[in-house]
């Protein structure tokens, strides 16, 4: 059964550094999402992507964040100048329609 895959599973970075989180969505899906979950808190929506552009973004998704689909298969989330409070689990999801399929997540730790 096809799955959404995310790499790396765990990323440790120093404050102020840039990180790129990678996702390979399920191949025939058209809608892509990034969510994050800070430890002990709920899963929060960051951004959705459709037809090669951002379709919706939350208040969290400010200029520090960007997304790309560089090669038609990968879907990346870039976080510039990371802060301690960016430490969280980041989930990618893809969807053919209403049902979203999630990756296993990348745990980002900013030190």
């Amino acid at each position: 059964e096809p799955e959404v895959t995310q790499t790396p599973s765990h990323q440790v970075t120093q404050m102020g550094q840039e990180v790129i989180l990678r996702c390979v969505p399920i191949s025939n899906h058209l809608y892509f999402y990034w969510y994050r979950q800070i430890l002990g808190q709920k899963v929060e929506f960051l951004v959705s992507f459709y037809n090669n552009e951002i379709s919706e973004k939350s208040e969290i998704f400010d200029d520090q964040f960007s997304v790309e689909r560089p090669d038609g298969s990968n879907f990346t989330l870039k976080i510039r100048s990371t802060k301690l409070e960016d430490s969280a689990m980041y989930f990618c999801a893809s969807a053919p329609g209403p049902e979203a399929f999630f990756g296993q997540g990348t745990r980002l730790t900013v030190v």
């Binding site: 809608y31 709920k42 899963v43 929060e44 969807a95 209403p98 979203a100 399929f101 999630f102």
Partner: protein, 109 residues
């Protein structure tokens, strides 16, 4: 803005006992509602959605528009049901899911 409330952070039940995980939502229209489950060290996966009205792994959930609730129920809990359960809402259309904070279900043998 839409909101999903799961009032219980942790729910512990004995094996064989009935389970009800509560979910209330705030949205003035007709939302799409989902339950996602996350077993230990696994990804979030869809358990069921209100549109399909099916029973998955013995779980059911009924949308009550009057009470704006979508509680998840199972008559007899099993140890393998222990997991985090998230209720989620979507405004019709290809909009993102809005999640509740989740409830950790612990089924005790």
């Amino acid at each position: 803005a839409q909101r999903v409330t799961q009032p219980e952070k942790l729910l512990s039940v004995f094996k064989g006992a009935p389970v009800e995980l509560k979910c209330n939502y705030s949205y003035s229209g007709s939302p799409e509602l989902f339950w996602y489950v996350q077993y230990s060290r696994q990804r979030l996966q869809l358990l069921l959605r209100h549109i399909s009205r099916e029973s998955i792994k013995g779980f059911t959930a009924d949308l009550n528009k009057g009470e704006t609730s979508f509680h998840l129920k199972k008559p007899f809990a099993q140890e393998e049901d222990s997991a985090m359960y998230y209720c989620a809402l979507r405004v019709p259309g290809n909009t993102p899911l809005v999640f509740g904070k989740g409830t950790r279900l612990s089924v005790i043998a």
